[in-house]
């Protein structure tokens, strides 16, 4: 079923094609196993998980909308509320803190005028947990892109590109 309020025709085509590829990775009677990849696909198209989108995923995976919400709200990478254009996740776990992550976060808070956990149209600033980059600390991710060995200069340069 097409969902015109949710997708443009091109988006709909991408969703349908990629979802059928994803579903082919699972046993035919286990469609709901494709939940995480399906939600990631939806989020990659819309930037977040709009309610109509989650209803569509429930339909396609032959499961309940409640199950979709349960999963969507469990994992931190899924956005059930529309975030700013750039979600910035700063690791403040131990190894990064030992290399200045608290200063990094404070610097970003000041630059962006946001406290960790807050968002505006452009940015959603969050503290996150260890990103498996402890040897190249401190680090952060912007919408799933990873940046490490951060300094004031490299952070300034990065922020300059986020327009």
């Amino acid at each position: 079923m097409a969902n015109e309020a949710l997708f443009t025709p091109a988006e709909q085509m991408k969703f349908d094609q990629e979802l059928s590829e994803i579903l082919s990775h699972y046993p035919a009677d286990r469609k709901s196993a494709a939940m995480l990849p399906a939600l990631r696909l939806l989020q990659s198209i819309k930037g977040w998980l709009p309610p109509e989108g989650m209803t569509l995923v429930a339909e396609r995976l032959e499961t309940s909308v409640a199950r979709v919400y349960e999963v969507a709200t469990f994992y931190v990478m899924f956005h059930t509320k529309k975030p700013g254009k750039y979600t910035i996740d700063v690791c403040t776990n131990l190894s990064c803190s030992l290399r200045g992550a608290e200063s990094l976060l404070a610097y970003l808070e000041k630059k962006l005028g946001l406290r960790a956990g807050e968002m505006n149209e452009m940015f959603y600033l969050r503290e996150t947990e260890c990103l498996a980059s402890c040897g190249t600390a401190p680090c952060l991710q912007v919408n799933e892109e990873h940046y490490e060995n951060l300094t004031r200069e490299s952070v300034d340069e990065l922020l300059g590109k986020l327009t």
Binding site: F74, Y75, E102, A132
Partner: protein
């Protein structure tokens, strides 16, 4: 201890041109072990892995061959292999580099394991944040399919083998093997009660082996060079080499493959590895196996980074994440960072863990911020004893070991650095300075 020069296994191709491609891997002898394994047959492969003393590199150090032998061969159900690439244990970043530098080594291990276990479908579960790593792995897998290694015919044999890469979406708990299976089934990551163990009832209710990325990347070496050779590399009951991750306050953080006799101190000080402490700093404390392991004080670090050696001192080799803290680190603040993590990542299923992790974090934070009360240290110890009594490791009152993982650091930080906690409470402030926005500043790196 052997006197022959140390030979790297897992990291041997890193830095060579094209090490992440099929061509690069084959040039360095790749996929020969798979050919040999197909000649040996399943029973002989499992036997070799048992004799090799290969132990799981994901955290628990469980003997791999024994785990494989628990899979009921006569089960009419399909069998699965689930590869654990969730790598979310704080301080751990080795699987990431294996995936980036040599994905085919793991894929060869997957092919060998699958053949041995009668598995025809394998899922590699990577943490959601591993976008780049998933892309590299998918490319490698595509190459392996095109070359006829995976797909309808495993290296030309009458044996179909499919392998899929699945990304999580940000949840530490999904590294716990049964939570991982739940997540692979498209659910939230709530660990399952065991038994039954996954080898008997795993993915989709079918027999499933869950193995770590590095564990599987070790398998080709066992087959290629033989179980005895592999076993002899390590001490009794632990074969092979190990990839450890060094981070924190040290001159050269990074991933190092080490022989199993290397001690924590050697890892920090050796010119081949950490190259010592930043100028003017001394080792105050080291976490030897990811943040879930108890902390060692600076005078306890002459212990080998090996399963039995660490177990003997009521510690654990864990995931190989070695985190170094220097003499200017506030242990209360360090513990607060660790405790916060477990409170955030507790899945909320078991009361001792859900409530205990939040409670201990509040107390530690209050102490750090100068709001600690006399008796708080006892209270902390009581809270963590209620989550998981210690010692020994493994008595947790919860479905999975996240509870233990949250309790062990607190117990050890508080008992080994008690004076620091008491000083915070007495002085009603952090003796290292309010806010600590200065911590982590030293000449050799970090954000200043």
């Amino acid at each position: 201890m052997s006197t022959t020069p140390f030979e790297k296994l897992i990291t041997r191709n890193w830095g060579k041109p094209g090490s992440h491609t099929l061509d690069g891997y084959k040039k360095n002898g790749g996929y020969k072990a798979l050919e040999k394994a197909l000649e040996m047959g399943p029973a002989a492969i499992i036997d070799a892995v048992k004799k090799s003393n290969l132990r799981g590199r994901g955290g628990a150090g469980f003997p791999t061959g024994m785990k494989w032998s628990f899979v009921p061969r006569d089960s009419p159900k399909p069998k699965y292999l689930a590869v654990n690439g969730d790598e979310s244990e704080p301080g751990t970043f080795k699987d990431r580099y294996i995936l980036e530098n040599d994905p085919h080594m793991m894929l060869e291990g997957i092919a060998i394991a699958s053949y041995a276990l009668d598995v025809h479908t394998c899922y590699v579960y990577l943490r959601g944040e591993f976008k780049k790593q998933a892309e590299i792995l998918q490319k490698a897998l595509d190459e392996a399919y095109q070359a006829g290694i995976f797909g309808k015919k495993l290296l030309g044999r009458d044996y179909p083998l499919d392998c899929y890469v699945v990304r999580g979406a940000g949840a530490y708990i999904c590294g716990e093997e049964t939570a991982l299976l739940e997540s692979l089934e498209g659910k939230k990551g709530w660990p399952r009660l065991k038994p039954p163990f996954p080898a008997v009832v795993g993915l989709f209710g079918c027999p499933t082996v869950v193995n770590n990325v590095e564990t599987l990347a070790s398998v080709p070496h066992v087959i290629e060079r033989g179980a005895e050779w592999y076993a002899k590399l390590g001490p009794e009951r632990s074969g092979g080499t190990r990839v450890v991750c060094l981070s924190g306050s040290v001159n050269r953080p990074g991933v190092y493959e080490i022989p199993l006799h290397v001690t924590v101190r050697e890892l920090i000080e050796s010119p081949q590895y950490g190259q010592g402490m930043p100028p003017g700093r001394k080792v105050k404390a080291v976490i030897p196996g990811g943040s879930s392991a108890p902390v060692l004080s600076g005078d306890e670090i002459d212990v080998a980074l090996e399963f039995e050696a660490l177990k003997n001192v009521q510690n654990m080799a864990g995931s190989g994440g070695v985190i170094v803290m220097d003499d200017q680190t506030c242990m209360v603040r360090a513990l607060w960072r660790v405790a916060r993590f477990y409170a955030e990542e507790s899945c909320g299923q078991c009361t001792p863990c859900r409530e205990g992790t939040a409670w201990q974090t509040r107390i530690i934070r209050a102490i750090e911020e100068g709001r600690g009360q006399p008796g708080d240290v006892e209270k902390l110890l009581n809270v963590v004893q209620a989550i998981a009594p210690y010692p020994p490791i493994g008595l947790g009152n919860t479905i999975c070991a996240l509870g233990d993982a949250a309790a062990l650091p607190t117990h050890s930080f508080v008992t080994k650095f008690r004076a620091e906690f008491e000083a915070h409470i007495q002085e009603k402030r952090c003796p290292f300075g309010a806010g600590h926005h200065g911590w982590g500043h030293f000449g050799s790196g970090g954000f200043a």
